[in-house]
């Protein structure tokens, strides 16, 4: 079929077909991002996202935004420069978190019986919303990278704090002080994840005293900016139309 011959007979029909296309593309995009992003995030963020006793104020805060700003940046590049849709980051993060929730609920809880209150995913939505809004209002990649990327890194810890704070209440256990999250990790036996694998509260930020979370968040925000640029370019490159023959022109 060539482009000069139309497959539809009326404008109304064209609108309908176009709308059907919208849903198909949206659904496919959502599923594709869910799959790719989920695997990527599991391989890079992994245990930091799986377990509450890994959600510390240093490494989790640093790692999670850096490795999770990737797909939002790439999908934004495609949806904004091709369609002027400021949706990329939110769509990516919603897809990821749906996949994560299915996995945590069905497998971690349903199959292996870890309580959901030890293995829920991190909340990435506030940062994603701000990324999309900055792109919409600024219409600029640089601005989105700098302001949006910064906000993405900085909003991560406060955006998750209402969820994890109750688990950071201290408890005395057989003569040792620990948080409830530490106790969860100790109680709910993970044969394959011994305590020494846990990478928490490590790093060189100790000189900053007790306010390490903001310092980690700032560091993470700066790196997020760089990663944003990188993946935004990936997104642009992948959404080129050079791959398919364009006989409409």
């Amino acid at each position: 079929m060539s482009a000069s011959q139309s497959a539809v007979r009326s404008r109304a029909e064209a609108v309908q077909v176009s709308r059907t296309f919208d849903w198909m593309i949206l659904f496919t995009l959502f599923c594709a991002v869910l799959g790719g992003y989920h695997i990527h995030y599991m391989l890079t963020g992994g245990d930091w996202d799986f377990w509450t006793d890994w959600k510390d104020r240093r490494l989790w805060v640093t790692v999670a935004p850096i490795v999770s700003i990737t797909f939002p940046a790439a999908v934004q590049a495609c949806l904004w420069w091709r369609y002027k849709l400021p949706l990329g980051a939110t769509l990516s993060v919603l897809a990821l978190m749906l996949g994560e929730w299915i996995n945590r609920y069905m497998n971690f809880w349903g199959w292996t019986y870890f309580p959901v209150n030890i293995c829920f995913p991190s909340n990435l939505i506030p940062g994603a919303l701000v990324l999309d809004v900055v792109l919409l209002l600024g219409n600029s990649m640089t601005l989105t990278a700098v302001v949006g990327g910064m906000a993405y890194g900085l909003l991560f810890y406060p955006g998750n704090w209402p969820i994890i704070a109750p688990l950071h209440v201290p408890v005395e256990y057989n003569g040792m002080m620990m948080t409830l999250a530490d106790l969860q990790g100790y109680h709910y036996v993970r044969t394959g994840t011994p305590e020494y694998i846990r990478m928490v509260e490590k790093g060189t930020l100790r000189t900053f005293g007790k306010d390490v979370a903001p310092v980690s968040a700032f560091f993470s925000a700066f790196v997020s900016i760089i990663i944003y640029f990188l993946w935004h370019f990936f997104g642009r490159w992948f959404s080129k139309t050079d791959f398919i023959s364009d006989d409409a022109t």
Binding site: V15, S18, D22, I25, C31, G35, G36, H38, D53, K55, R82, Y83, K84, L85, P86, V93, L94, M97, W101, I102, N107, F108, Y113, F114, V116, N117, F120, P121, N123, P126, A128, L129, V130, V133, N139, P158, P162, I163, A165, P166, H168, V169, P170, Y173, M176, M178, T179, L180, D182, Y186, H187, Y188, V189, R190, T191, P194, E195, Y196, E201, V212
Partner: protein, 414 residues
């Protein structure tokens, strides 16, 4: 050309579905039955578990049991495995079917990793609280950084009752008693649902409009700017500011509700208390050792010298948790797992009491199907074909002493 394109499209769609589902089906390792697949030398020459005791064979939900005993950190630790400088006392169970209510080495609570010394014996205890009904194989286990999990002997334990009755009460330092099993779960769901709803609302706002084809046409004909209306920008502003306000407000209210929080606790525990075994007065020299493949038996020629002041007899050879006993000297009464106990598996060519100052060369045979079942015989295929184990000697008063052996092993196939 079109057919190829269609095929590629179809294949990539299938690949996509596979990767998608692969990620969603990930579950943390639940199986604890690696004991037989672990290389024989790992089990024979790293951690030697002995005097093990499982306090119960049947436990009701919410009841506790202990697994206790001692372990010797073998002095001839293999080169290929990292030294146990960072180790974690674990239990080998299929996921959290029990919760670990406590674990101790030498009387000290060990929720964190510890540093162990080669050649030392430690006493340990793990307190388990039953959570999920079923028949479970419960192993002692030591994770060694750079060495992996070293699984000790396992015993079947039955948990009865219903998991829905399980509770895990904990009293915090701020004075509340909570049930850690479902503590704060509503809060987790609430915030996730709220943020997800806000994200969806933002999606719906845009998805209401015609999306891909018309917008693509507009953008490629240079009219992209017209796609964003002032209302869109206003909506964006509201969502952006709203997000910041909600984050700030929820953080503030959380801090008010939970004024006392502490960072996660981590760190290595050093200087664990060792267990002093009675000084061994028996010296053992391995003259040679062979493993007879068809007979499933290990034969050792030992020269035993008694430097003590009472006559002794050899009663047990223990390797990788498998215990070969000479029933004339020692009978197990601890309920040790049957498959790991060869009650009459040890025969000594002359096991009459060895008098003080005397020295004797004897043929010792340890035979049992366990050699095959537990794949210990595989050690003849190891690059460094050695065996190691513990020998226990008893005197007439029941005093026991422990001697370790570590020597090359020659297989015979006829």
């Amino acid at each position: 050309m079109k057919i190829i394109k269609d095929k590629v499209a179809k294949l990539s769609f299938v690949a996509l579905l596979i990767t998608m589902t692969a990620a969603m089906f990930y579950a943390p390792t639940a199986s604890a039955h690696g004991e037989k697949s672990q290389a024989a030398f790992m089990r024979m020459r790293t951690i030697h578990w002995f005097d093990l005791n499982w306090s119960k064979e049947e436990v009701a939900i919410n009841d506790t049991m202990t697994i206790s005993g001692k372990f010797l950190v073998f002095a001839g630790w293999p080169e290929t495995v990292d030294k146990p400088e960072v180790s974690f006392l674990n239990v080998g169970i299929p996921g959290p079917v029990f919760i670990r209510a406590g674990s101790w080495i030498g009387g000290q609570l060990v929720p964190r990793s510890v540093s162990l010394e080669l050649g030392e014996v430690y006493e340990f205890k793990v307190l388990l609280k039953a959570r999920r009904p079923g028949d479970w194989h419960v192993h002692s286990m030591m994770n060694v950084k750079g060495g992996g999990p070293i699984i000790g002997p396992g015993k079947w334990v039955t948990i009865t009752g219903s998991m829905s009755d399980f509770v895990n009460p904990v009293t915090t330092l701020t004075g509340q008693t909570i049930n850690l099993e479902n503590y704060s779960l509503d809060n987790v769901y609430f915030w996730h649902a709220l943020w997800y709803a806000i994200g969806l609302a933002w999606m719906v706002y845009w998805v209401r409009k015609p999306l891909f084809v018309p917008r693509h046409i507009a953008v490629s004909s240079g009219k992209g700017e017209t796609l964003i209306t002032p209302t869109d920008k206003k909506a964006g502003l509201i969502v952006g500011v709203g997000t910041l306000v909600l984050v700030a407000a929820s953080m503030a209210s959380t801090n008010e509700k939970y004024p006392v929080t502490t960072p996660l606790q981590a760190g290595l525990l050093r200087g664990m208390k060792t267990y002093q075994m009675p000084e061994a007065t028996v010296a053992v020299k391995v003259d040679d050792a062979t493993y007879r493949v068809p007979g499933r038996a290990m034969q050792m020629t030992l020269t035993i010298t008694n430097n003590g002041d009472s006559p002794v007899r050899l009663g047990e050879f223990n390797t990788a948790g498998v215990r070969f006993l000479d029933p004339a000297v020692h009978v197990d009464e601890t309920g040790y797992p049957d498959d790991l106990l060869a009650e009459e598996g040890l025969s000594v060519s002359d096991n009459s009491p060895l008098a003080p100052g005397e020295s004797r060369t004897v043929e010792v045979t340890a035979s049992d199907a366990a050699w095959e079942v537990y794949r210990l015989a595989d050690l003849i295929y190891d690059p460094d074909s050695r065996f190691a184990g513990l020998l226990f000697f008893w005197d007439a008063n029941g005093n026991r002493q422990l001697v370790t052996v570590d020597a090359p092993l020659i297989p015979t196939f006829i």
